[in-house]
């Protein structure tokens, strides 16, 4: 237990030390900006969830089903944390750089696993609290609950992330175990996670049928379904609505017990899997890969970028989400026809021609989630010196990184967009508008990502996940992209002509991309030359 707390302390100190180091190195303003942005976003989401909870609470109070709010709180937070864990757990558990050091010390692997999971728990606790607390607070307000309820609420909230983390961890271990038995580990991990995402996507389409009938009451069917799967939900609701101390203890016991069991059982497998995942098998290939190949300097840089990208499971998985979701959407549309996209009809408020602009919004989200350029400087890490020591024009480095983003993202996104246009029988004008919008937005997001990473580089990461997911540049790009994604719907509220507005957006994004490229090739070059790995 002593070692566990020591490891947790070191992990937390590492996070805070890196924050202070950035501040001392003059990154204080940028870091403060990121923290402020994060707080604003957190407050915005909390307010939005609270507003939704109030609406649902009033509807449920009217039919005497107020305790359903508690079930909804648990369901939403469990699903949210589970999705986060599916997304992050494999990278978090199997690519931390102090593995060798920790394994060489007299510390049980289960303790190391536990300390890593505890750090992840703290992040997931924030996410769980953000989604569940508003519902629970609304329940407390509407039932006139006393202080004891709110104390119970805070206590029980601490244990909400444990079950989804256990499930996420099991999935990660299962996939990793499979990957270690096969040669192409990265491919196995990527395909596995994509399948999991696909299943979740398919389930959400199925669950949609439960929400198609109007009114909040229809969605209760979905939450009842979740409740029947989430076996701790009964105890959760009873603990808070009673209040029932026994149910509280059972809920905590089950959550904590399963989590502890997971750590104990997988502690051993953790070491074996980590070792196996880190082994890059040296196949003796005298064929293609031992060949002399001559390229231009830009071609050589692009080839290096492609190999680096496809060599990192974390990098691929955390940037391919958008492309995968867009492709899944197109496949669903082809297989099931336009009726599978009936949610577009639900969102339509101004006739059938509104669908292209809703799709623009959706594709903008997808593209914003898959910004390959956002961590592309940081991912160089300790190898950054190679680019600095060689006679390489920094502009060629930037061109190669942007080309990687465009090559990976643009063809599939455009193809998916074209397929959706064909299935939904858009007019030629709307089809062209949609496709051009997607193409321009892809390029814009790439230049935005590169600019942000030049402003907020991080070359001292301990694992790929920090560079790819936890960096300020990635976070900023996702947030900006999410905000911009709503712009195609803006004319609806301002009563502007949609088509003209969208065409204007295309021109603006193209112009913004050019401006950002100017920054990259001038200011960015200066920053690149001053970076010290």
């Amino acid at each position: 237990m002593n070692n566990f707390f020591k490891l947790v302390k070191v992990n937390l100190l590492e996070i805070f030390y890196n924050s202070r180091k950035k501040k001392k190195a003059g990154g204080g303003a940028g870091q403060a900006g990121t923290i402020l942005l994060f707080l604003v976003l957190f407050a915005f989401v909390a307010f939005a969830v609270f507003t939704m909870a109030m609406g649902m609470g009033e509807a449920m109070a009217a039919v005497g089903l107020l305790p359903m709010l508690l079930l909804i709180a648990l369901s939403f937070s469990t699903i949210f944390v589970l999705v986060l864990c599916i997304y992050r757990m494999p990278g978090f558990l199997f690519s931390f750089k102090d593995f060798d050091l920790l394994m060489s010390m007299p510390i049980k692997p289960s303790v190391i696993l536990g300390s890593k999971l505890f750090t992840s728990y703290l992040e997931n606790l924030g996410a769980a609290a953000l989604v569940s607390l508003p519902f629970m607070i609304v329940y407390g307000i509407m039932t006139g609950a006393g202080i004891a309820y709110y104390l119970l609420m805070i206590l029980i909230c601490l244990f909400i992330p444990l079950l989804p983390m256990t499930v996420g961890g099991l999935l990660a271990f299962g996939l990793a175990k499979l990957a270690t038995k096969l040669k192409m580990k990265n491919l196995v991990m990527i395909v596995g996670m994509v399948l999991v995402m696909g299943l979740a996507f398919a389930w959400s389409f199925g669950a949609q049928t439960l929400t198609e009938t109007e009114g909040i009451m229809a969605s209760l069917g979905m939450f009842n379904q979740i409740g029947s799967v989430l076996f701790t939900s009964r105890f959760f609701v009873e603990a808070l609505s009673g209040p029932n101390l026994l149910s509280l203890l059972i809920f905590i016991g089950i959550s904590l017990g399963l989590f502890a069991l997971f750590i104990l059982l997988f502690g051993r497998a953790f070491r074996h899997i980590n070792t196996a995942m880190r082994q890059i098998t040296g196949r003796r290939r005298k064929g293609k890969t031992a060949k002399i190949e001559v390229r231009s300097p830009l071609g050589a840089l692009l080839h290096k970028e492609i190999r680096t990208y496809f060599g990192s499971f974390i990098y691929i998985f955390n940037t391919c989400v958008g492309v995968v979701l867009a492709t899944l959407l197109a496949i669903v549309a082809v297989i099931l026809g336009p009726t599978a996209l009936s949610f577009l009809a639900d969102l339509q408020m101004v006739g059938p021609d509104f669908a292209p602009f809703i799709l623009m919004m959706i594709f903008s989200f997808f593209i914003a989630c898959g910004n390959i350029c956002a961590p592309s400087i940081s991912i160089e890490g300790s190898r950054f010196y190679i680019l600095r020591a060689l006679p390489i024009d920094p502009k060629d480095v930037f061109r190669a990184k942007l080309l990687l983003h465009v090559i990976i993202t643009l063809p599939l996104m455009v193809l998916d967009a074209a397929v959706l246009c064909a299935v939904l029988q858009f007019s030629l004008a709307n089809t062209l508008l949609f496709i051009v919008y997607v193409a321009v937005f892809v390029v814009f997001i790439g230049t935005l990502g590169l600019s942000m990473n030049l402003k907020f580089p991080r070359l001292d990461y301990k694992d790929d996940m920090t560079a790819v997911k936890q960096s300020a540049s990635v976070f900023s790009c996702i947030m900006i992209g999410m905000v911009l994604a709503f712009l195609p719907l803006l004319p609806l509220f301002l009563n502007w002509p949609m088509t003209l507005f969208s065409a204007g957006m295309i021109v603006l994004y193209a112009g913004a991309a050019l401006l950002l490229w100017q920054f990259i090739t001038h200011g960015g070059v200066r920053i690149f030359r001053s970076l010290q790995a």
């Binding site: 040296g282 196949r283 890969t289 031992a290 190999r307 300790s382 390489i392």
Partner: protein
């Protein structure tokens, strides 16, 4: 070949890592740069190779200023760090091709040089393997081959013998000597004082960012061993 004049480099917090360092590496020199841990060796080397900006002074490589014309300096020099983190997901050959592409080395001379260096460093059978599967010493060998492909006029190395087996270390010493005989120059830091004493015709000792002695090895050492001199100077200053 390498001229460092009054070099000053400080880090945030006011730490002066390099304090008014001056030295000259002429063509044909094998210049040993020694000092205790944290003395400023790596910082000096990184300023020479363009990895660090510096606050004051000038550095010239083959007559060109590192500040004014970094690309020209990098075209004629090569750098091997103490811990060569390379691109793990490239094979050895792919990495060498990458370096050769940057230096625009044509196909045939490239193939000849890769074969030559891979043969003498015993990497020929491993060219198709990913670098991530290599040991530290093998990565060091890959870095050395990559540095020599474009026949640099100045070779800058930081602790080049760490991780090399005795045979490889011997071969590398020979390669450095051959390079200098052809008019090139080598500037390297090392803690292996016996190698520095035998290999280098010039040395400089740095302590707390300042050069405390520099010049021809035979003039500096006289009848003392480098180890004795180093301990004497770094303890007494």
């Amino acid at each position: 070949m390498l001229q460092i004049k009054n070099l000053v480099k400080s880090f945030p917090g006011g730490v002066r890592a390099v304090d008014n360092v001056s030295l000259h590496v002429a063509p044909g020199d094998i210049y040993g740069f020694i000092g205790h841990n944290g003395a400023g060796k790596t910082t000096t080397i990184k300023c020479v190779t363009g990895l660090y900006d510096f606050d004051e002074g000038e550095i010239y490589v083959d007559g060109k200023s590192v500040k004014e014309d970094p690309m020209a300096c990098k075209m004629v020099s090569a750098y091997i760090p103490d811990n060569p983190d390379l691109y793990d997901h490239l094979t050895c050959m792919q990495y060498l091709n990458f370096i050769a592409d940057i230096y625009r080395i044509p196909k045939e001379p490239r193939a000849e040089k890769i074969k030559y260096y891979a043969d003498i460093l015993e990497l020929s059978s491993r060219l198709g393997e990913p670098i991530g599967a290599f040991s530290h010493g093998m990565k060091q060998k890959v870095a050395i081959i990559a540095a020599l492909l474009h026949e640099p006029k100045l070779l800058v190395l930081d602790e080049p013998f760490v991780g090399l087996d005795p045979k490889a270390a011997h071969i590398v010493k020979q390669l450095l000597a051959d390079m200098c005989q052809k008019g090139g120059a080598v500037f390297f830091s090392s803690h292996v004082l016996e190698v520095v004493e035998k290999l280098c015709n010039k040395i400089a000792i740095i302590k707390k960012g300042k050069i405390i002695v520099s010049g021809l090895t035979e003039d500096i050492l006289k009848d003392e061993s480098l180890e004795d001199l180093f301990l004497e100077l770094t303890d007494n200053e």
